[in-house]
């Protein structure tokens, strides 16, 4: 009890620190770097969505790292929950016919919707991550409708691997063409502002990210749902 009290006091003191820092959080004019992003973003990348330009091009290296984090967490969760040999998961109860059919019917439109989101990532809000999450929700639907359903792991894994590798390869293309990893300018034609085929390699990368995120999140859901339940107990 005392510990919890001390904990609350500590949180309050941290609050005081934040309050002391409040003046820093007031609105300020754009800084020099971000001013460049805003003013030159269209000129340099042709992508209508400036956030996408930053995420995929100016700070594309971060995003590569971000994709890696996701990949890593999913692999890690899978590694932690990996099935021990000889353990077969218990069969689960199935949902009603209606739900199963509906989920199968809905699967394709939802995936399509996800794809729509990441294909338009450079034009409208949303992009690879959001689209990927939508695709994962389609998979979730399938999994919920029929818990014994085993996802086509091979297929997912192939998509996961090759989209990730494709991302790196795109970076190499930039390196080869301009001498800078993940470069956009000078790789393919930037196209016209506010069109689907514009913004150079940004849509390409976002599609790859969308595929990768979608397959990864699907794997994650599958891992969590079908996790090995048998503990080793107290060894």
């Amino acid at each position: 009890m005392i510990k919890q009290l001390v904990g609350l006091l500590a949180v309050l003191a941290v609050a005081a620190l934040f309050v002391a820092l409040l003046p820093l959080m007031a609105p300020t004019e754009l800084g020099p770097v971000t001013r460049h992003y805003v003013e030159q973003g269209l000129v340099e990348n042709r992508g209508a969505n400036l956030v996408t330009s930053i995420v995929v091009n100016y700070r594309g290296f971060d995003t590569l790292g971000e994709v890696t984090v996701l990949f890593l967490s999913v692999s890690g969760a899978g590694f932690v929950l990996r099935r021990r040999e000889g353990l077969v998961p218990e069969p689960q109860r199935r949902s009603s016919e209606l739900v199963q059919t509906a989920s199968r019917v809905l699967f394709a439109p939802i995936v399509l919707f996800g794809a729509y989101i990441f294909v338009h990532g450079h034009l409208t809000p949303g992009g690879g991550f959001q689209g990927g999450a939508v695709i994962a929700s389609a998979v979730l639907l399938l999994l919920l409708a029929d818990r014994d359903r085993l996802l086509p792991h091979g297929f997912l894994s192939v998509i996961e691997s090759f989209s990730g590798f494709g991302y790196v390869v795109t970076g190499f293309v930039g390196l080869a063409a301009t001498g800078s990893f993940l470069a956009n300018r000078g790789v393919i034609d930037l196209g016209t502002w506010n069109r689907l085929f514009s913004a150079g390699v940004i849509p390409v990368i976002y599609v790859l990210i969308g595929l990768k995120v979608g397959s990864e999140l699907a794997t994650l859901l599958d891992t969590m749902m079908h996790a090995d339940q048998a503990g080793e107990g107290h060894r």
Binding site: A10, L30, V38, A48, N49, V51, V55, F129, H234
Partner: protein, 129 residues
Amino acid sequence: MNLLSLHALAVGTAIVLILVGLAGALVRRNLLKIVLGFSIADSGVNLLIVTLGHIPGRTAPIIDDPKLLKDAGSLVVDASKVVDPLPQALVLTAIVIGVGVTALMLAFVVRLYAQGKSLDIRDFGRLKW
């Protein structure tokens, strides 16, 4: 600063969320609650960062309207009309990273539960001193 402005509200909410999340992680003994606390604190941090880039009265950094350009001829954008897009880009990354960490933590919780049949953090302190 006007205390009833969106900006002030967002900053306040963000800080409170961070603190509530941390307090939850500090006070609750259930492993899932601890993870939940960090998840809430993460939301708070993300909100705070986006708020740092917010400038009242400006639009989102999506240039689908020629009115946002400086002049019709070039593609140079008028920087005084949109909010700072950089923190938004950072938060996008942070959200995904956050969910990754959460997923891994939950995997740990599931595994720990499978072995210890408990969710109380005090039952998982066999290594000490």
